[in-house]
Symmetry: C3
Subunit: 166 residues, 3 copies
């Protein structure tokens, strides 16, 4: 039996059905910046703690975040949404993270998951679902580190490419 | 080249191919209820601990759960499955969570992920996969808080709508 | 309106479009093996700690891992990739886990999520996305525990079956 898509848009691996480009900004809690911080270490390995990122490439640190999303790379720009969820550092030899988070907008949300080898200039993670304007979305997002300031601030550029649009 | 679905059912954004309605019940460990508790705080920000939900809207608390699923809203009804996984609070200003969990039944499982702005009456998260009877499922689940009793008990109603059925 | 897949391969629930078979090896940090360990407890319930798995079937323990992937069951075989992410124990009565992790290869990644009732000989979790060679992958992975040595070492066999290939 063959059944076809009802309302799912054309799917083509060479041409996304929708692209979105954002920046988000992460300010990590360091014990002194509780008002400004947008993220916090909530779990750490036995050799770590919750105000300083752990040795061994932060292996084992889990960070929860609620980061502003902006259309350009300026932290002071008006946020258009929030990036919410967690990242965890999962390698001892090279800075590497694993992500589970959502972009939350007034009109809907997009959920992401996957490995982030963050020393690479460009790295892809999966778009695993969406709601509202992004109902049933699937795709790939390319992450690029746009700025780092010590252990407290980083800015990511995220190019979202949806290949399943409903 | 055009290739079509083999055994995937019709997909239509206006009509789910399958709907399921459940309730699940969360009893949080508070230091005294270890036999009855179905969930526990396992990580918290530096200003929190593991027996009391943290200040600032519980930001940074991570909770692991194994909650009974029932067909009606009665905690004493016979469970038809278990809701298992984690939720984490990820906003300082408004109660907001991020979810990664599965409904586990004898006949298969459904996995969910996404942001849960839990002060909204209805909020959608993504169904990102399934096994067994729910093989390859995708869809959206609408969460509704059906009851809250202090910090220790809440009950969620979950209306699952699958839009990809195999 | 009917729109069809552009470049997605045939989908058939009875025949995967791609199969992959791997083993991965987890060596848990126990306070003494920090050089060899590939994983660490980073969060635990109030009754647990980060060097010994907790009582009550490890309920509430969260483990972060970066485990070598091999083609056979020998830990000393040359790794072909890394299994990276987290598992968490989420049931008090029976050993049960919930997984969020990726297989990371030179050529791309596959992301997995779902419940793992690890006392069962075979259990299925969902493949929720992929990048690179596994662009937009979806499917099911069957986990089998191939070896356990106390609380410190286990080896999983993973049979990945993709049902959506692009």
């Amino acid at each position: 039996h063959h059944h076809h898509h009802g309302s799912a848009a054309t799917q083509n691996r060479h041409r996304p059905c929708r692209t979105l480009n954002f920046f988000f900004h992460d300010i990590l809690y360091d014990g002194r910046n509780s008002d400004n911080a947008t993220s916090a270490i909530v779990a750490a390995p036995a050799w770590g703690n919750r105000t300083v990122l752990a040795g061994r490439k932060h292996f084992g640190d889990v960070v929860i975040f609620d980061d502003p999303i902006t259309l350009d790379g300026d932290l002071r720009s008006a946020p258009v949404g929030r990036a919410q969820g967690m990242y965890l550092y999962d390698r001892k030899e090279v800075f590497t993270a694993w992500l589970g988070f959502s972009f939350v907008f007034e009109s809907g949300s997009i959920t992401f998951s996957g490995s982030d080898p963050l020393m690479d200039r460009r790295r892809d993670i999966s778009v695993i679902g969406g709601t509202g304007d992004f109902f049933m979305a699937r795709g790939v997002a390319t992450l690029m580190t746009d700025a780092i300031e010590g252990d407290v601030y980083f800015r990511l550029r995220v190019d979202v490419k949806l290949y399943e649009c409903w």
